[in-house]
Amino acid sequence: MSNTWYLYMFFAVALVLAGLIGLLLKRNLIKLFIAIEVVGKGVSLLLLSTGFAKGSILTAQALVVTYIVIEVSLVATALALIINVYRHGKSLDVRGLAKLKG
């Protein structure tokens, strides 16, 4: 693979790591979801840069466009869930979710 690919790979891994550390350390539900978004950015960067290095940018583009469309659906559902959790417990603390009782 060309040397450029390793540069993109380095930054994609950095994004995924930043998101994963954020997921481990943060407690606010919206913050956790922002961390998931950052992981997704790293994955889409990796997909497209691999297509770029391999010379099949059109297939990579189709995959990234599909991923973005699915991501919007995911974001809408997750944010609706977060709003419902907030209405239920008046807090966005993820530790409060363990105390929910039917």
Binding site: M1, Y6, L7, Y8, F10, F11, V13, A14, L15, L17, A18, G19, I21, G22, L25, K26, R27, N28, K31, I34, E37, V38, K41, S44, L45, L48, S49, G51, F52, A53, K54, G55, S56, I57, L58, T59, A60, Q61, A62, V64, T66, I68, V69, I70, V72, S73, V75, A76, T77, L79, A80, L81, I82, I83, N84, Y86, K90, S91, L92, D93
Partner: protein, 160 residues
């Protein structure tokens, strides 16, 4: 190449800021800036459709959804983040970045080159004609999202 690298560095910095910043609104905006930079990177990789989707949908629509959610959930208790985050996150992140750089340096030139892809036609051909069943799956996922949001916001008739 230098411009592309600085775009990538900016992308990582704004993504880290989005996670680290205490104010939710500011972190949503830095996530949007990161998406914008990623979109420009896509444009420079000769992937204009992915860039347009990234900028219009991720930097635009998803940011609006985030800001709306932050506005709707504002009047609650402030979530008390662990005090460790402020120094554990940078330390662990820098350590992982160093490991990442070392791994990439040792991998340099070792990953076998993939066979060049035989792509013909336009982006439209690849997007619409090269795929069959996964389009149905994608439509199903979008419909599932729509129904999930409708179900989550339905009114309970008994209590009205």
């Amino acid at each position: 190449m230098i411009f592309q690298t600085s775009l990538l560095i900016g992308l990582v910095i704004f993504s880290v800021l989005a996670i680290l910043l205490r104010d939710l609104l500011k972190s949503a905006i830095s996530l949007a800036v990161a998406s914008l930079l990623l979109g420009i990177i896509f444009f420079r990789m000769k992937a204009p459709y992915a860039g347009v989707f990234e900028i219009s949908v991720v930097a635009g629509l998803i940011t609006v959804l985030f800001v709306l959610t932050i506005a709707l959930t504002k009047t609650g208790d402030e979530v008390r983040e662990s005090k460790l985050v402020n120094w554990v996150f940078p330390v662990v992140f820098v350590a992982f970045i160093v490991i990442d750089a070392l791994v990439m340096k040792s991998l340099l030139g070792r990953v076998p080159a993939l066979a060049p892809g035989a792509e013909t036609g336009t982006f439209g051909d690849i997007l619409w004609r090269g795929r069959t069943l996964d389009l149905v799956g994608q439509i199903a996922v979008i419909l599932a999202g729509v129904f999930a949001v409708l179900a989550l916001f339905r009114k309970d008739d008994k209590h009205e």
